[in-house]
């Protein structure tokens, strides 16, 4: 969408609103749509980047913190520090959701990501015996290629996005759009079927994770025999460990 993008959208909305008003009784919805389109067209043209509003300044500052934390996350050589900087990045994103008036998603972000996903990642680091200090082999050999790909993608995406949405204005004044009541009503009126499908997905993921991570006692007989042919030392150690777990049972 170019610089004249919102104006055709506004006129289209205007004509749609006028058509609806002519076909049916002139409702308040059509009037609200017309005024909304007019304000959208008026505000998109008049705002500039040199006179940012308070919300924009807050968004920019939190965005800088988020981006810095994300960059530290992918570049630091201390694995536990990477997980802790990921907390900063995800928390900053929660603040950005709040600034975009999506309250419920912000709290879901805090609960799910900061609360559980990072804890899972820390447990994973602990269980894979990650070194506490600096690990010299955190980055693989294709780091220059990755940097080139990332910088190229960043330049292209930022260029396209800025060119497309330079004059697009988000109206954040409508209260209660992302509140818990509105989100719950939307989720259980229009999106019930995907919601239930997702609950099935979560259940199967839970079962699959348990099956994968379980240190199985009875079922390893055949697989231990198969592994014993491949590498003898590991099989001996594993069979000893399995014997311990069977004794515990």
């Amino acid at each position: 969408m170019t610089a004249t993008g919102p104006v055709p959208l506004a006129t289209e909305l205007l004509s749609a609103g006028a058509h609806a008003a002519g076909a049916q009784a002139p409702t308040a919805g059509a009037n609200a749509m017309r005024t909304h389109a007019v304000t959208l067209a008026a505000e998109a043209g008049g705002r500039g980047f040199l006179s940012p509003t308070g919300v924009e300044i807050a968004f920019l500052l939190v965005g800088l913190v988020t981006l810095g934390a994300a960059i530290v996350t992918v570049t630091t050589r201390q694995l536990v520090h990477a997980a802790l900087w990921l907390v900063v990045a995800l928390g900053g994103l929660a603040v950005e959701y709040l600034l975009l008036t999506a309250e419920f998603i912000a709290w879901v972000q805090v609960l799910i990501y900061v609360g559980s996903v990072v804890v899972l990642l820390l447990f994973g680091l602990m269980l894979t015996k990650a070194p506490i200090g600096r690990s010299p082999d955190a980055d693989s050999g294709n780091r220059p290629a990755a940097l080139a790909v990332a910088v190229t993608a960043a330049v292209t995406l930022v260029w396209v996005v800025v060119d497309a949405f330079r004059t697009t204005w988000i109206d954040l004044d409508e209260a209660g759009r992302g509140s818990t009541a509105a989100t719950g009503r939307m989720l259980f009126q229009h999106w019930v079927l995907p919601f239930e499908a997702l609950s099935l997905l979560l259940l199967s993921a839970l079962v699959g994770a348990i099956v994968l991570a379980r240190r199985d006692g009875n079922g390893t007989r055949g697989r231990d025999g198969g592994r014993g042919r491949d590498d003898g030392g590991n099989a001996d150690r594993d069979s000893g460990r399995d014997g311990v777990t069977e004794e515990q049972r």
């Binding site: 965005g63 990045a89 990501y113 680091l125 693989s140 990332a150 330079r166 997702l198």
Partner: protein, 137 residues
Amino acid sequence: MHLAYPAVLAALLFCTGLYGVLARRNAILVLMSVELMLNAVNLNLVAFDVWLRDTLHAGQALTLFVITVAAAEIGIGLAIVLLVFRRRGDSGIDRLRDTAEPPDPRPGGAPDGAGTPADEPRHGGPRTPVRKAGTTA
């Protein structure tokens, strides 16, 4: 608020995650970078939902679904990483090359009948009997 702010932030976060996925060696760090990319997508979805004012709230609903799918993905991914670590004692994804094609020691590929029994032990692995069956057939 201009739509350019969240869109640019999302693009930069996505590219940061892209760099992490490509450059990291530890599998758990790769999973962290994937989370960053998914969060960039979520920010885009929320910003466009607020901008377009969809009556079905499709953007925010899809954001919740992406968060759920990401939680499932991180659980399964960590279980797989733990399993790999338990079997091999290492979680570096550079060394997981069991399904990679071994480089052919002879220059110019493998023409029929060129494989002599003398250099068969150098190949190793399960590929040798397959090729031998192919050349004799």
